[in-house]
């Protein structure tokens, strides 16, 4: 399943790259991309565990860039 999330307070392009790299490495994530310009993160992950994986993603992003918040709809 592919889903897009809005990112708040993503202030640095390099951090966006780092977030993307870190999220891609998570278990169950097929693909991820962070667009610094659109302030959006697109995640393609296992359907069954999606919510679980999202928790991991949020945790992971918090570590890489604590200022940035993922808006979970």
């Amino acid at each position: 399943m592919k889903k897009t999330f809005k990112l708040e307070d993503l202030d640095c392009a390099n951090c966006a790259q780092k977030m993307e790299g870190a999220v891609k490495k998570l278990d169950g994530v097929h693909d991820a991309s962070v667009s610094f310009l659109m302030q959006k993160m697109t995640i393609d992950a296992d359907d069954a565990r999606f919510d679980d994986i999202m928790k991991q993603v949020v945790k992971c992003c918090k570590r890489v860039e604590p200022d940035c918040r993922i808006v979970l709809k």
């Binding site: 897009t4 202030d11 640095c12 392009a13 390099n14 790259q17 780092k18 991309s33 667009s35 610094f36 310009l37 659109m38 302030q39 959006k40 697109t42 570590r63 890489v64 604590p66 200022d67």
Partner: protein, 613 residues
């Protein structure tokens, strides 16, 4: 300016004033340090805080950490003014960066402003305002003047003109009336329309376009991938360089303070931000700018390849030509008028649904009085015979004329020829041809002016293909090809081109999907409303205007030039300052310019993609 930016500006101004005051005050020792620490903390506390926090999270090569290390190092060396100044400059740069990126984001948002906010749906005869997502297929919606068409549909009643500029870049409004299909994203200009919805919002044109443009950012160009890889290596490498510079030379010749100071300069230059922001921004601006002109590019990689296109291969029917048969010319025999020749042909073909018959009736223009026509016989591979007003008429090819024993005059025209005979007497011939698009000649000229080789592939007869090729001045024409042959020909051309150049294939996207995907860049035309074309191609021209092709290439080339400029400029300046810093010729002030100044200039340069033509 946002509130955040205003706050940052206030901090910078206060710290700046305090820095000047501290420099002028006749203080010594600890008091002097304290006087400089006040502005330092005011302007840099967040950087210091983030540096500490990120280290705790295991982020070592973080720009905050590097800036903190560089300035704390300068304070330790007693370079108080320099430490505060560098932090101050860094924050000014960040402010500029955030403002410039914010502006770019705003112009991108404007480009993407085709999403309708609401739809007025008619339920039980009453207009109800609702989310476009909640309108079902088959429901009727009301579109008032000034509103965006929210969903794709068919006009049930009303007539109006539509502004399609947001979708096609075409500024001439399109007239629509009952029975016409309309696509979402257009702006209704004059009259109220009632529209029967044919597609749910998620599958409507406007959703597809937005999705496509937003997804475009994830298909990264080679230049973007290069920068990502480079950024990963660059920072650790420069930091390592700084460590070496601080430790190795003083071991042999002493002077620790000097070398540590030079190493700190390295740290200031070690952030790759200028590149990491400005390269994707240029591609994004390029994709956004192109979409405003009715050219959808599905990714930065395609934009990059489009800039390198050296050969453009065209499909003939529907791409260079209109794909509709039309009567091109009438050649009546002596003593016969053009009108009676055409009337006779149209009447004979009154019952046929063949495209050629349809073109004859269209050219005739009036309603065909079928009561005048009897005994119609279609003869496969020959044509048709009928009795019109009591006289036998034959309309068909040369073989039919030979069968009838009629001597027909032949011409040198290319196209499909219909010969007409009445009562055994030759009336003349009608030339039917697929017309070259009005925009084609200029488009081909523009491509040639850019040094691009043009090739046409067609399944049609050699003579027909050659005639179109000559009329347009194409470099190569390959005719009588089966769909499979087209792929083969494109592969041959791919093998022949120079390795760094690219080949674009332009088709209508309907039945040439394999060729579109085989080419470096597949371009589909006239895609408004055609899902097949949107799916298959890498670049989609929203309307039938071939002139967009050259425009798309100009956008791509400009984008690629800006990207090259930014990479060369940013790397050049950084390399220069690393060398100057190592030899003690650059101060930390200059290093900070090399870092943030370059970032701002690169962002402004990339921002050119978002503006104007």
């Amino acid at each position: 300016m946002t509130r955040k930016e205003k706050k940052a500006l206030a901090r910078i101004l206060i710290a700046g004033a305090l820095l000047i005051a501290a420099s002028l005050a006749p203080l010594e020792g600890l008091w002097k340090l304290l006087a400089f620490l006040v502005p330092y903390v005011i302007v840099g506390w967040d950087v210091l805080w983030k540096a500490v926090r990120n280290i705790a999270h295991g982020q070592v090569f973080d720009e905050n950490f590097l800036m903190a290390l560089a300035t704390v190092g300068a304070l330790a060396l007693g370079e108080y003014a320099e430490a505060v100044g560098v932090m101050l400059f860094y924050q000014v740069g960040e402010l500029f960066q955030s403002h410039a990126v914010g502006q770019s984001r705003k112009s991108i948002a404007q480009l993407m402003d085709i999403r309708p906010d609401s739809a007025t749906v008619l339920r039980d005869g009453e207009p109800v305002e609702t989310d476009p997502d909640e309108v079902a297929v088959g429901e009727q919606i009301l579109v008032r003047p000034g509103e965006k068409v929210p969903l794709d549909g068919v006009v049930v009643s009303g007539a109006s003109t539509l502004n399609t500029a947001a979708l096609t870049g075409e500024s001439v409004p399109r007239t629509v009336a009952q029975g016409d299909e309309i696509v979402s994203g257009c702006v209704n200009l004059t009259g109220v329309l009632t529209v029967q919805v044919t597609k749910p919002f998620g599958e409507s044109t406007v959703s597809k376009i937005l999705e496509l443009v937003e997804n475009a950012a994830s298909k990264k160009a080679a230049a973007e991938n290069f920068i990502t890889r480079f950024a990963r290596v660059y920072t650790p490498a420069v930091v390592l360089g700084a460590v070496c510079l601080a430790v190795l030379p003083p071991l042999f010749m002493g002077g620790w303070a000097t070398w540590v100071h030079r190493a700190l300069i390295f740290l200031v230059i070690s952030c790759p931000c200028a590149l990491v922001i400005s390269i994707p921004l240029a591609f994004f601006g390029g994709i956004g700018g192109a979409s405003r002109r009715g050219i959808l590019v599905k990714g930065g990689n395609y934009l990059e390849r489009l800039a390198k296109v050296e050969t453009v291969v065209f499909d003939k029917t529907g791409t260079l030509t209109q794909g509709v048969f039309e009567v091109a010319s009438l050649h009546p025999a002596q003593g016969v008028t053009e009108g009676s020749l055409l009337e006779c042909a149209a009447l004979a073909e009154a019952y046929s649904n063949h495209p050629i018959a349809q073109s004859l009736r269209r050219a005739y223009g009036r309603d065909v009085d079928e009561s005048r026509v009897t005994d119609v016989k279609e003869i496969a591979g020959r044509g048709v015979t009928a009795v019109i007003d009591g006289q036998s008429v034959a309309a068909g090819n040369e073989k039919l004329m030979a069968d009838m024993g009629v001597k027909a005059a032949s011409g040198s025209e290319t196209g499909t020829v219909v010969y007409v005979a009445r009562g055994g007497k030759y009336l003349g011939r009608v030339l039917i041809a697929d017309r070259v698009k009005d925009s084609a000649p200029a488009a081909i000229r523009e491509l040639k002016a850019r040094g691009i080789k043009t090739v046409m592939l067609t399944g049609d007869a050699k003579a027909v293909g050659q005639a179109v090729g000559n009329a347009l001045g194409l470099d190569e024409v390959h005719a009588e090809l089966l769909p499979g042959d087209k792929v083969e020909h494109v592969e041959q051309l791919l093998a022949k081109k120079s390795p760094k150049a690219a080949l674009a294939y332009v088709g209508d996207g309907v039945n040439d999907a394999p060729v579109l995907s085989r080419a470096d860049v597949g371009v589909a035309m006239g895609a408004m409303g055609s899902d097949a074309a949107l799916e298959a191609a890498d670049v989609v021209l929203m309307d039938d205007d071939l002139g967009k092709l050259a425009a798309a290439m100009d956008v791509a080339r400009k984008c690629s030039r800006i990207v090259t400029e930014n990479i060369a400029f940013a790397l050049g300046v950084k390399a220069l300052f690393l060398v100057l810093g190592a030899f003690g010729l650059a101060s930390m002030w200059e290093a900070v310019f090399a870092d943030v100044g370059v970032a701002v200039i690169a962002i402004l340069n990339a921002g050119r993609m978002l503006r104007g033509k």
